[in-house]
């Protein structure tokens, strides 16, 4: 039977073949070098203007970044982030018409350890990137993914943002910034205006750069650097993840934690708008660009980028959900040029449905890994619930079988008082809970109850959760203890929603 049950009124615009030697649609003069969307042909000059304007418009429109704020630019070496770096340089340069007014720093996360690159290969990529970073004059931080094993548990909690600046505050901040800027310029000795470059004091930057390098290379007190100490940890962790899809998601999560941690410790308030971490907001200014536009711009204007192999470099395009989706969209885009922009516009109109919440208080539980609101408390008639039903019905029927979702939890709590040594804070009695808190790695079941739908899928693809970094394991233990404690006293609590764990 034909599957169309609901018709779609608007026809999708099919690709129209570009005519050769078109004129630029903007200046009507220059020869077009590039067709952005069907019909929009630009000459070199107008393309540059369009590209730059889009970047500033993106940041300006939403007033995402306050003047004088420290912004950490996450650069992977790939075309999109390299292009972002060049746009920031362009925007901060003295003669920029609508000057950007924030203080940039760069972070590169070396993830070579997850895809079998040797240390030499990794250092070679780093050297290439360093020379690009150094040329910008911005401070930069090179962080090894292995450092994730040294993260504190605090990275998993959202820190409340600095008190909300009022709308009018933006203008005040601009004025303040311009004043400071002038004052600095008049004080700077010698070379006049030429030397002036925003907020930078070269001596301080130099020291910071050196500091960030020390962190990753040679340790001050002789302990081997994280890349050596945790090389095997990282390998073990990733080999416990069975599918490429879950590997990519895990990597994304860890990368995120490192970024947020670095931003916090280095005093950055904007990473790249993704307010989930509270104090550090993530901005993605390149979302508005197609990869084709970026590739063109980089080529045309000599923006350097570095190819660094990743998890998926040698994989087929059917190896993971991420790769499948990418190739699906790319192929569709070739036939229907409005595909990407439509998906983008659709996503702009949507948000995750929040479970019924009390106005004002943001107390709903957050996922241990991705720090998003947990979306697994959905009502009975839901895909999540239906999946639990299917799993229960396919396994041996337990007499008087518990309801799905509440079942497996208790067997862990039941083995009380089998504590195997006190680490992970608290120990017995003290702050832990009414019961002894055995400090063992939480089981997959324990962990899943603390995760959102999507992170559960990642954990489901793991053979064991024993190799997760310490900060994740300890935080999981702490939250499990807390929830068990709450269960025990639940009948005495008057307000169900009173103390939903947030961090």
């Amino acid at each position: 039977m034909c599957q169309v049950d609901e018709e779609y009124s608007d026809q999708l615009e099919k690709r129209t073949a570009p005519t050769v030697f078109q004129k630029c649609v903007k200046c009507k003069d220059g020869t077009a070098v590039l067709i952005i969307r069907a019909g929009d042909a630009f000459c070199r000059c107008c393309f540059k203007e369009y590209f730059i304007h889009k970047f500033r418009a993106m940041l300006g429109k939403n007033r995402l970044i306050f003047p004088g704020e420290k912004v950490l630019l996450a650069i992977s070496g790939g075309p999109a982030s390299s292009s972002m770096l060049s746009q920031v340089q362009e925007g901060l340069s003295q003669d920029a018409p609508k000057k950007l007014r924030f203080i940039p720093g760069i972070i590169y996360i070396d993830e070579g350890g997850v895809c079998g690159m040797s240390l030499e290969e990794r250092d070679r990529s780093i050297a290439q990137l360093e020379s690009i970073f150094r040329a910008t004059g911005y401070p930069f931080h090179i962080v090894r993914l292995e450092q994730v094993f040294d993260l504190p548990t605090s990275v998993l909690g959202a820190v409340p943002p600095a008190p909300q600046r009022p709308e009018s505050g933006y203008k005040a901040a601009v004025d303040q910034f311009i004043q400071n800027d002038r004052a600095r310029a008049s004080c700077s000795p010698g070379e006049g205006g030429g030397e002036r470059d925003g907020e930078r004091d070269p001596a301080v930057w130099d020291a910071q750069v050196r500091l960030s390098r020390l962190e990753t290379r040679d340790a001050p007190d002789g302990t081997p650097p994280p890349v050596v100490r945790h090389g095997e940890d990282l390998e073990r962790l990733f080999s416990s993840v069975r599918t490429l899809t879950a590997k990519e998601d895990m990597l994304q999560t860890l990368r995120h934690h490192l970024l947020v941690h670095t931003a916090r410790t280095q005093g950055y308030t904007k990473g790249f708008s993704d307010p989930r971490h509270g104090d550090v907001v993530i901005v993605r200014p390149m979302r508005d660009y197609s990869s084709k536009e970026i590739a063109f711009y980089n080529k045309m204007f000599g923006v350097p980028s570095v190819f660094v192999p990743g998890l998926d470099t040698k994989a087929s395009d059917k190896a993971s959900i991420q790769l499948l989706t990418e190739s699906f969209v790319t192929k569709l885009q070739a036939d229907f040029p409005s595909t990407v922009s439509t998906i983008y516009r659709t996503s702009e109109k949507l948000r995750a449905a929040r479970p019924s919440q009390n106005a004002g208080s943001e107390t709903s539980a957050k996922c241990l890994l991705c720090v998003c609101a947990v979306d697994t408390k959905a009502e009975e008639a839901s895909a999540f619930h239906a999946t639990l039903v299917s799993e229960r019905l396919s396994q041996k029927r337990v007499p008087g079988g518990a309801l799905p979702g509440t079942s497996a939890r208790d067997d862990a709590a039941g083995q009380c008082c089998s504590s195997s040594g006190g680490e992970g804070g608290g120990g017995c009695g003290a702050g832990g809970g009414g019961c002894c808190s055995p400090t063992r790695t939480p089981t997959t079941t324990d962990l899943k109850s603390l995760l959102c739908y999507s992170c559960r899928l990642t954990v489901k693809d793991m053979t064991a959760v024993d190799f997760l970094p310490r900060y994740i394991v300890s935080e999981a233990e702490r939250r499990s203890r807390r929830s068990r404690m709450k269960q025990e006293i639940s009948e005495f609590l008057l307000d169900e929603e009173e103390d939903e764990e947030t961090c």
């Binding site: 039977m1 034909c2 599957q3 169309v4 049950d5 609901e6 018709e7 779609y8 009124s9 608007d10 026809q11 999708l12 599918t243 899809t245 059917k318 190896a319 993971s320 959900i321 499948l324 989706t325 699906f328 192929k331 569709l332 229907f336 595909t339 439509t342 998906i343 516009r345 659709t346 996503s347 702009e348 109109k349 949507l350 948000r351 995750a352 449905a353 929040r354 979306d375 959905a378 009502e379 009975e380 008639a381 839901s382 895909a383 999540f384 619930h385 239906a386 999946t387 039903v389 299917s390 799993e391 019905l393 396919s394 396994q395 041996k396 029927r397 739908y453 999507s454 899928l457 693809d461």
Partner: protein, 343 residues
């Protein structure tokens, strides 16, 4: 060494569930499949005792399995429902004749009364005649719109309280993807709903009891139950764009079997941002059916067919609705645009 059923741990497993990966014997699979549909019906409160429920029967696997399972569950759990089969004859020579034969056999096998409504009697046009006029590119638009209304009209004639359709998890997930790709926020919000309340005059509430059933499991269920169904693609080729989405979903499923449920989960957990304007639902001023425009889609399509202007219902020609309602003639320029059809 044969694999044992993971549920009863006694019998030999005969299949691996596409949805969960568990190996089950035939009886345990039937049980699990039927119980899941039952759970869906109960948790979403799809029916009330004493209701007359029309099963949209096409003769295909989904509606055949739906009819079978509903009959089984109605008896097992005393839903107290009066079930009947409702079919639409689109008037497609060859394709429809064969599938209607299947539906007629189902009527006998399940002892459920069958009613057939046809495009010809409702609209005065068969699909064969429509294709002759509009070509093969847009015929699915006509068929989809007409079928939806035809089911409602049939249900109204029979005093049916609810219509059940055989949409399965794959269909729902695919529709979520399609609506994202098309940027159709209004449909994206509606498409994961398991049931729709009556949306006005002439519209019977609908539900999808197989919403969480995998297509592959539906085939397995039909296969082991030796259910008789008709499995030929519509002779008028289905929508190519939807084909892309379908292939993508199958690829996703092969990488991660839960992908189908995952997409539905996403759809269920999306909501529209504040401030996004949504089309206002009204009713068609000609036939009273729900419509966000002055005329409903079916009426516009029909008008186009009757005036010999097939493009009328295909593009966006809302501003012509006034003229059509007033029975005014179109200008030559307007007519020229609406006549051209690429076959």
């Amino acid at each position: 060494m044969p694999i044992l059923c993971s549920s009863c741990e006694k019998k030999r497993a005969v299949l691996k569930r596409p949805k969960t990966g568990h190996s089950l014997c035939k009886e345990c699979f039937f049980w699990a499949f039927e119980e899941e549909v039952h759970q869906t019906i109960i948790s979403a409160r799809l029916f009330n005792p004493g209701e007359t429920v029309g099963i949209g029967a096409s003769g295909g696997k989904d509606s055949t399995v739906l009819a079978h399972v509903l009959k089984v569950l109605n008896e097992r759990y005393n839903y107290g429902l009066k079930l009947l089969l409702l079919s639409v004859d689109e008037g497609i020579t060859g394709y429809r004749d064969d599938s209607l034969e299947t539906v007629k056999r189902n009527e006998q096998q399940y002892a459920l009364p069958l009613t057939i409504v046809s495009y010809e009697e409702l609209y005065g046009w068969t699909m064969d005649a429509i294709v002759k006029q509009v070509g093969l590119k847009n015929n699915c638009t006509f068929c989809g719109v007409f079928r939806r209304q035809a089911l409602d009209r049939g249900a109204m004639m029979l005093n049916v309280d609810k219509i059940c359709t055989g949409h399965n998890a794959d269909d729902v997930a695919e529709t979520v993807l399609m609506n994202v790709l098309r940027g159709d926020i209004a449909r994206l919000r509606r498409c994961t709903a398991i049931s729709t309340a009556s949306e006005g005059e002439g519209v019977v509430p609908r539900c999808k009891p197989l919403k969480y059933a995998y297509e592959k499991e539906i085939v397995l269920y039909a296969y082991f139950n030796k259910l008789d169904y008709f499995s030929t693609e519509c002779v008028y080729s289905p929508n190519a764009y939807r084909g892309h989405a379908r292939t993508f979903l199958k690829d996703l499923e092969s990488v991660r079997p839960s992908a189908i449920m995952d997409v539905i989960h996403s759809g269920e957990n999306l909501s529209v941002r504040e401030g996004v304007r949504m089309p206002v639902q009204g009713t068609c001023s000609r036939c009273g059916y729900i419509s966000s425009q002055a005329l409903c889609k079916a009426c516009v399509l029909l008008e186009g067919l009757n005036r010999g202007l097939p493009r009328l219902g295909i593009g966006k020609h809302h501003r012509l609705h006034g003229k059509i309602l007033a029975k005014e003639p179109l200008t030559q320029e307007e007519e020229r645009k609406l006549k051209a059809v690429d076959f």
